[in-house]
């Protein structure tokens, strides 16, 4: 039963230098055609399930104008929403105007995700984020007044030239916003991004590590739970939508470049606008057989603090995890911990979780 849905709105009025996600400059005519195609995609795929999460991401979804947003919600009205659903819209603070906030509220949105990324004007400039960060506090206050009680903000750290002092300022700024959820990402310089073309370098690995430690420590001291590698939240405010990924659940993904996981297939949509509006939505389909499914289960579950529920694993795959992957040496080395029938990466080793996952997948039992 599919309970989750991602909607991609690729339009931005400004392109960030680090962004390798599917995006394009805002253009009214293109938005119009895009929304029509999106409607077709949803209508042709959606099977009428009751959804527990919807996430509208981008791009910058809230840069659409009010009419366009109304059209979007009209398209989404065919989706069945459960009574306690989590409905998130992502965007930049300067587009969360009172008018749009009211519109979101009216259409059932109950969670906002705001890309702040940094509080330092120089850093924002480097990231190509052309916005006035001083509007943030005011904007969040307004959202609260309108009734949004679940707000996430993003932070990017480990940017070349950034020092510990700047990071401290960023964290203080985020804490001053008293939001329910914080996502932090260490800057990755991806191919085909402006930063990469400008020859941006990664910062020293050791400095990156110490920044990560600082963030974890400060956010914890201030009452945030570190429930997943890069996500922190106040109690009861985990992102249900993100957890669906980490729990290896199936989900719809609609829009340009979106990914979905439906009926044992992982589907990646085209990133080509012209193909998409012609109705050629899908670019790639990966069939997820049982062994792939197990691999996904492991690598995704291990992102979470609680790790893999061995009981659930056995229920899903009929055999114990250890009969597929013999993880005993990893337990001995302290890279994995087994407690209350959950297998997880201890928090102080999260920073090397890839290495641990790769090692675990290397312990495959043949036969």
């Amino acid at each position: 039963m599919i309970k989750n849905c991602y909607i991609h709105i690729p339009f931005c009025k400004n392109i960030c230098t680090y962004c390798d996600f599917c995006k394009m400059f805002y253009n009214q005519n293109m938005v119009f055609n895009y929304l029509n195609a999106l409607e077709k995609e949803i209508q042709s795929t959606y099977q009428g399930e009751e959804l527990e999460t919807i996430y509208i991401g981008g791009g910058t979804p809230n840069c659409l104008n009010v009419e366009e947003l109304e059209r979007l919600f009209q398209i989404l009205s065919i989706l069945h929403k459960s009574s306690n659903m989590e409905f998130t819209v992502e965007g930049n603070i300067d587009y969360f105007t009172e008018e749009k906030l009211l519109l979101f509220k009216k259409n059932g949105v109950n969670r906002l995700s705001i890309g702040i990324e940094s509080s330092n004007p120089e850093t924002l400039k480097k990231l190509g984020r052309n916005l006035d960060i001083s509007l943030t506090k005011e904007g969040i206050k307004k959202a609260r007044e309108i009734g949004f009680s679940n707000i996430n903000v993003d932070l990017i750290y480990a940017i070349d030239g950034e020092c510990n002092h700047q990071l401290d300022e960023d964290i203080s700024f985020l804490l001053s916003l008293s939001v329910e959820h914080i996502s932090t990402y260490s800057l990755m310089i991806e191919d085909h991004t402006i930063l990469k073309m400008q020859g941006e370098k990664n910062i020293d690995e050791d400095l990156d590590y110490s920044m990560y430690q600082t963030i974890c420590k400060k956010l914890k001291e201030n009452g945030y739970l570190h429930y997943e590698i890069s996500n922190f939240s106040k109690k009861g405010y985990y992102s249900k939508h993100n957890l669906c990924y980490w729990n290896n659940q199936e989900y719809y993904g609609f829009g340009l470049g979106a990914s979905s996981y439906l009926h044992d297939k992982r589907i990646t949509n085209t990133r080509s606008y012209s193909k998409y509006i012609k109705g050629e939505f899908v670019k790639e389909i990966e069939n997820v057989g049982i062994s792939e499914k197990i691999e996904y289960q492991i690598l995704l579950n291990l992102r979470k603090k609680e790790g893999i529920s061995l009981e659930e694993f056995k229920r899903l795959y009929k055999k114990e995890l250890i009969s597929f992957y013999n993880y005993s040496s990893l337990l001995k080395e302290g890279l994995l911990v087994l407690e209350n029938n959950y297998l997880f990466i201890p928090e102080d080793k999260w920073y090397i979780s890839n290495e641990i996952i790769v090692r675990l997948l290397g312990c495959e039992v043949y036969g």
């Binding site: 996430y55 991401g57 990755m188 690995e205 990924y245 691999e295 790769v358 997948l361």
Partner: protein, 599 residues
């Protein structure tokens, strides 16, 4: 074909002077091949040869040429150009009466031009000097004619060609008839045929290339290999035109291929003489001096289960490359492999690549070593071709290493840096000659190990690629040498040990440690890298512990991408060798090879 209308010849040249292209053009002009069919460098049948532009395995082709009402049979025997393959060059030379010496009109006489010329003269061949690539704007044939005159040719002997445009090819073909002597075998004498090459074909078994010196060989004859005594029925004879064509008989003076259902590779020795079992000749042909390998290295399959496959591959390669030697060896770090001996560095490179490419076996090669003679305190002498065979210091009285005489051809403007390089490489200056005002040849005596180490790269960079270089081994000399070990996480990695001159040990140790630091990825714990001589640490670096290995973000549910990244990481791990608890990439074993400073 009557013997006086046969011409057996080869083409010799410095690398890249256009030997293979010239061969192609001869094929085209004798009508042996259609222009349409002509792949570049038709004679080079291995992919590797075509890619590298060097001829590795020789190849014989029979061409028909018509002139003044007479039919002529040309047997063109291809030879490799590089110094490492001089053994094979001399093999092909023994099957010929003449040689075409190709010199690039833009480059002039180079080191291997001379080395190959001397080899040909040693074999009493008639030489036709050819200046090729005269179509190039930068060609300077007048200058090259002067250079050729300086080494003993007269201007009227020289043919000017462009293998690219075809200019001069007809004159060359006419010159071949005019100058190169016909073979002088006796058809009535007992069969005497030279095996000058062999190769293994998975359908036909062993195929040998032969030149009939005396007598006649027919399909169905029973032959005997004079050195090994093995007997075979001749199943088939053929020639290469350059398409294969079956024939029934090969006569004195002719060149062809012989099939005899030879299954055992060890029965065929290149250089051996074939005769008839029922009417043998009295004495063997002189054959060849077997070449002794000068460079050794350890070769290990990345996948340990491929050890037997690797043995089979080496056996097959040895079949037509008698100079290759190998024996099984074990390394604590790398498992089971082979210690292989090669004629030189290029020979080593080519062999490693052939194993990988033709047999699909991925290899780890250890740093190459020369062959040392070690005199022990008990006055016995041992041969050491691998660092880990070096005895303990206490029992060594002295170590001798091979020296070479090397000749470097270069524009005279690079004399300064060249001499500096040679001094640095422990060279002793012998002499210097000017070919003309701008080109000079310098001779040095130098330890072979210095050449094996990084001489080629350094030579290239200090002369911007304009120098050429050739060497021959002249003997052994005592040197102050030590074995340097590399320790990872406190453990000696045998495959990384090298023998170095004591004066260079510190510098070399430092460079190797720095390189390894760069190549070895961060691990879960800190890994010290040390270079040590007799347990005394001379250099140290540290690979810091892994600090960041996490995919922070995962936008919009693009989980497939995350998995792909992890799979890539997993593949990368598989390609590494686990030594103790440290994962080492394959390149690490080559790092001790290169002196390039880490950047």
């Amino acid at each position: 074909m009557k013997q006086e209308n046969i011409r057996n010849f080869c083409i010799i040249a410095h690398i890249d002077h256009g030997k293979s292209t010239l061969a192609d053009r001869i094929l085209e002009y004798t009508g042996s091949i259609d222009k349409r069919e002509l792949k570049n460098q038709m004679l080079d049948s291995m992919d590797l040869e075509r890619e590298r532009g060097i001829t590795i395995k020789l190849n014989a082709v029979e061409l028909l040429y018509h002139k003044d009402g007479e039919d002529y049979q040309f047997n063109l025997i291809d030879t490799p150009g590089h110094v490492d393959f001089s053994y094979e060059v001399s093999r092909s030379l023994a099957a010929c009466e003449g040689a075409i010496l190709v010199v690039d009109a833009t480059q002039g006489v180079e080191a291997q031009t001379l080395a190959n010329l001397y080899l040909a003269l040693d074999n009493h061949l008639t030489i036709i000097p050819v200046i090729n690539k005269i179509d190039l704007p930068s060609a300077n044939p007048e200058k090259v004619i002067k250079e050729l005159e300086n080494i003993g040719f007269s201007a009227n002997e020289i043919v000017l060609t462009s293998a690219k445009t075809g200019e001069g090819i007809i004159s060359l073909l006419d010159k071949i008839i005019e100058v190169i002597p016909a073979p002088k075998g006796n058809e009535k004498a007992p069969l005497k045929a030279l095996i000058f090459d062999s190769l293994f074909d998975s359908y036909k078994g062993v195929i040998t290339s032969i030149r009939i010196m005396d007598g006649i060989l027919r399909k169905g004859d029973i032959i005997r290999m004079m050195e090994t005594g093995a007997k075979y029925d001749v199943v088939g004879l053929s020639i290469n035109t350059p398409k294969e064509k079956s024939i029934d008989v090969l006569r004195a003076g002719e060149v062809g291929y012989l099939y005899a259902s030879i299954k055992s590779i060890s029965d065929v020795h290149v250089g051996d003489t074939i005769t008839l079992d029922n009417n043998p000749c009295l004495e063997k042909l002189p054959g060849y001096q077997p070449m002794r390998p000068t460079v050794y290295c350890g070769i290990y399959p990345v996948d340990p289960s491929k050890f037997e496959d690797l043995r089979e591959a080496l056996n097959k390669l040895k079949l037509n490359d008698a100079a290759l030697t190998f024996e099984a060896e074990t390394s604590k770090a790398l498992g089971f492999g082979f210690r292989c001996g090669f004629l030189g560095l290029l020979h080593m490179d080519v062999m490693e690549e052939r194993v990988t490419r033709e047999f699909g076996i991925e290899l780890i090669a250890t740093s190459p070593s020369v062959v040392y003679e070690v005199e022990l305190t008990d006055h016995t002498k041992i041969i050491v071709d691998s660092p880990h065979k070096m005895p303990r210091r206490e029992v060594i009285s002295k170590i001798l290493e091979p020296y070479v005489k090397c000749s470097i051809f270069s524009p005279s403007s690079y004399i300064g840096p060249l001499m500096e390089l040679c001094q640095e490489k422990r060279g002793n200056f012998i002499g210097m000659d000017y070919l003309d005002t701008e080109r000079v040849t310098i001779q040095y005596e130098m330890p072979l190990s210095e050449i094996v180490y990084d001489f080629f790269d350094r030579l290239k960079s200090c002369t911007k690629g304009y120098a050429s270089f050739d060497y021959e081994i002249i003997g052994y000399k005592e040197s102050n040498l030590v074995k340097m070990d590399i320790l990872l996480n406190g453990e000696i990695v045998d495959a990384l040990s090298v023998i170095v001159h004591k004066d260079f040990a510190y510098q070399r140790g430092r460079i190797v440690c720095e390189k390894l630091k760069e190549i070895i990825p961060r691990q879960l714990f800190e890994v010290p890298i040390q270079a040590a001589i007799y347990n005394h640490v001379i250099a140290r670096e540290t690979v810091k512990a892994l600090r960041k290995d996490v995919l922070a973000k995962c936008y919009g549910g693009d989980i497939t991408r995350k998995k792909k990244l992890l799979e890539k990481q997993k593949e990368g791990k598989k390609r590494m060798k686990k030594i103790g608890s440290v994962d080492i990439p394959q390149e690490a074993f080559l790092s001790v090879l290169s002196s390039k400073e880490s950047s």
